[in-house]
Symmetry: C2
Subunit: 455 residues, 2 copies
């Protein structure tokens, strides 16, 4: 797909919008791939986005909305008429529906919910009550269930009669429930094929099936899906009523989203995913919230330098190496953070096993500290022709590398233990401490060796 | 799961190993969840890991290996007897098999492949020839196909007769091929249910099914699965022979792995996923390969300071702010990098659209530059009571923030355009340039205002 074609797609849509040509517009949108729709929408002005979503019918609009990242979709729906937005949201899959409502601002969400009938609104309200990273928040409610007293023939007839409706249900299993909707077991489609048509579901249902409670956490769900080769699990409430189905796809997507979320946080994008189509002030404010904490931590760290101003004025060449020590320690520490985060997510390291991690980390820290310290020390020595200067600079970096990997390796494990998000906090804590210690070591060593540092 | 219980699990396994109690050991392993197996194996010594995998039978061992991250599994299998390792690998799913062989070192992989019979080895060799992030590299070969001339009755009989074998195939679709194994179309299990038993597959087969070529890239596959609500796609070679099936699960997992891989790279873990169970020298070397490039870039950036040593010796207080300017510019730039990487992966921004990104980024850069510049300038002013000092420091950070977001936002887009991995290169390029410009601005401004900077 070249850039030229992309621009053509935008032009086509704008022309069709101008002509109010609903049918051709819907057909054209249908012909686009998922990423083409995302790109196209991001290229349209707000006004045109809204017009597009109201010209085509709600079902078609829901197809468009489903392609977009939640933050982009929420951004668009928020500013549409609540009635139009509600009509579209009603046509979304149950899991997408809740995700989207959560992304909306409170006022927008309420306006849209009041446009729905009471039952629909109640069902959405119930779903968004579950934490988005639990079975209740991730499940879909499009599943097929029959009471245990039904016969195979009745079920097959119902399936055939409602084939059109169930088409969007991605049916793999049939769920069997009691007359009070309590979960009893499952049946694979194939099994209906093998059964006698007069058999009751209660005779052929597979009962050794784990149902998960709506509060089950994403981590437990990941484990469950990795341990069992199932397509999905039934989700039940505390009274064991069947309330939804959670599929492998939901879990994998949620896992991926969490990875991305964590990555964005380590890079300083906190308070929600940013897209450049959002208002400038929102983007600016979100980024600043992180940066302003960071600038204070930076000032604290740099105050160590202020404390040693006299030494520094004697050995001004040291000023060249302070940013290097700061940056290199940050890098080595972040490597250790990344490995710990990875091992935590794989389950190789459990929260609280900081000592074990530390022992494994100091070996690497020793070797890398010696190598990096030697390299930077040699550079300093060659530049100024003073061996003591080389020792001061190299020694500080070598020791600080050891400090950095120790902190970087253990801090995510300890933060996780005390239930602080390590993706958010590890970086700033790490760099503040390693900066302070690094500056202290370099300037402290220089103060001791001051008499010898003449060049 | 508490830490105490974990340690108990290790103790139980060690006891069973000592007693050579195969049956109880296999039963116990079966009872563990996926992450418990990972944790347990990482707690055992090499010797015990090997003993465990040879005491239980190859099928059970394959179940254990499948739970482990590829790098950990490869690490263990590499040092086992090639024959034992081959027996286990044969029992893995087809997609896991190729992934694992790729992770092994060349010698280990060859030794294992020669232990297999010619057909098996050839099939694995063929699979690892495909790039791991293409349809050929991600597909599974456990699918069920029938020739178009078969009747519904024949197919149902075969399915019933081989129910045990097909159980592990996660059957959703039946693939229909010509007598030369060329792909013709698919059938859902349900459709067999609705068909007359004397109908030929050619009469009921759905032909409007996209088959993907083995070379199709992960990005295209993601798009395909997002656009279509299918469970999987058939994979064909250039002659349109059916060679495998790619499932949604494979795509979601590959996408997740790529996200993790990219994240690790931005954090300086390059050259492969690191686990702390790997040999210290391997870990040390991999981390150093990245750090040694970084130290050179750091030296280049810091050379700007060396150039301005005279100014710095006059205004020694500036040395306190240089690491702050370096770090803050790195942070603001990395935020912009993260947003660009995200928009690239969502398809909102296409490689080469650097100008568009830049326009969206400078607005945020202006606001945040003014805020951060004001904060740090005020601090400098209050500290030294000199307004010019505040202006020098604040002005340098304000302008450099603008520089940092401009470079941070556009560099991933440009790198992607010239096919350099932005996850790997964006960070180092960004920080080197912003360090140089930041030091240059602060020291340059100070040189100009030198007469006024007396305190």
């Amino acid at each position: 797909m070249t850039r030229k074609e992309k621009t053509d797609q935008v032009r086509i849509v704008l022309t069709l919008l101008e002509k109010n040509n609903q049918i051709e517009l819907a057909d054209f949108l249908e012909s686009l791939t998922s990423s083409e729709v995302v790109y196209l929408m991001s290229k349209l002005r707000k006004r045109d986005q809204h017009k597009l979503l109201t010209i085509i019918n709600p079902e078609e609009a829901a197809d468009v909305i489903e392609e977009l990242p939640d933050s982009q979709a929420a951004d668009i729906l928020e500013e549409m008429k609540a009635g139009d937005a509600a009509a579209i949201i009603k046509k979304l899959n149950s899991d997408d529906r809740a995700d989207l409502i959560i992304e909306l601002d409170k006022k927008g969400a309420e306006a849209i919910l009041t446009e729905m009938n009471a039952a629909e609104a109640a069902s959405i309200r119930k779903m968004i009550e579950y934490h988005p990273r639990t079975a209740g928040g991730l499940m879909i409610t499009e599943y097929i269930s029959y009471q245990a007293v039904s016969t195979v023939k009745e079920v097959i007839n119902d399936l055939r009669g409602n084939a059109e409706k169930y088409k969007n249900y991605h049916v793999r299993y049939i769920y069997v429930v009691s007359e009070h909707n309590q979960f009893l077991g499952v049946l694979q489609m194939q099994e209906l094929l093998l059964a006698r048509s007069d058999q009751k579901l209660s005779e052929i249902v597979i009962k050794e099936v784990t149902a998960v409670n709506a509060d089950t956490s994403l981590d437990k769900l990941i484990d469950l899906f990795e341990t069992h080769n199932f397509y999905g699990f039934p989700v039940v409430d505390d009274q064991h009523h069947l309330i939804g189905v959670i599929r492998r796809k939901n879990i994998l997507e949620a896992k991926n989203e969490r990875t991305i979320h964590d990555h964005l946080q380590t890079q300083g994008i906190v308070g929600g995913d940013e897209l450049r189509t959002m208002p400038v002030l929102t983007r600016s404010k979100r980024r600043l919230s992180w940066l302003s904490v960071n600038i204070i931590l930076n000032l604290i760290a740099a105050s160590v330098i202020a404390f040693y101003q006299e030494t520094l004025s004697e050995v001004i060449a040291l000023a060249v190496f302070l940013p290097i020590i700061s940056d290199m320690s940050g890098c080595t520490g972040n490597q250790a953070v990344a490995v710990s985060m990875r091992e935590l997510s794989l389950g190789i390291v459990r929260p609280g096993e900081a000592i074990r991690v530390w022992f494994q980390e100091i070996k690497v820290g020793l070797i890398n500290g010696l190598v990096l310290g030697f390299l930077i020390g040699l550079t300093a020595f060659i530049w100024k022709g003073n061996i003591y200067f080389g020792l001061v600079v190299g020694g500080a970096l070598a020791i600080n590398t050891l400090v950095a990997v120790s902190i970087g390796g253990t801090i995510p494990v300890m933060l996780k233990k005390i239930k602080v998000d390590p993706a958010l906090a590890s970086g700033p804590i790490l760099t503040t401490i390693t900066d302070m210690i690094g500056f202290f070591l370099a300037l402290g060593f220089a103060t001791i060796a001051l008499g010898k540092l003449t060049f």
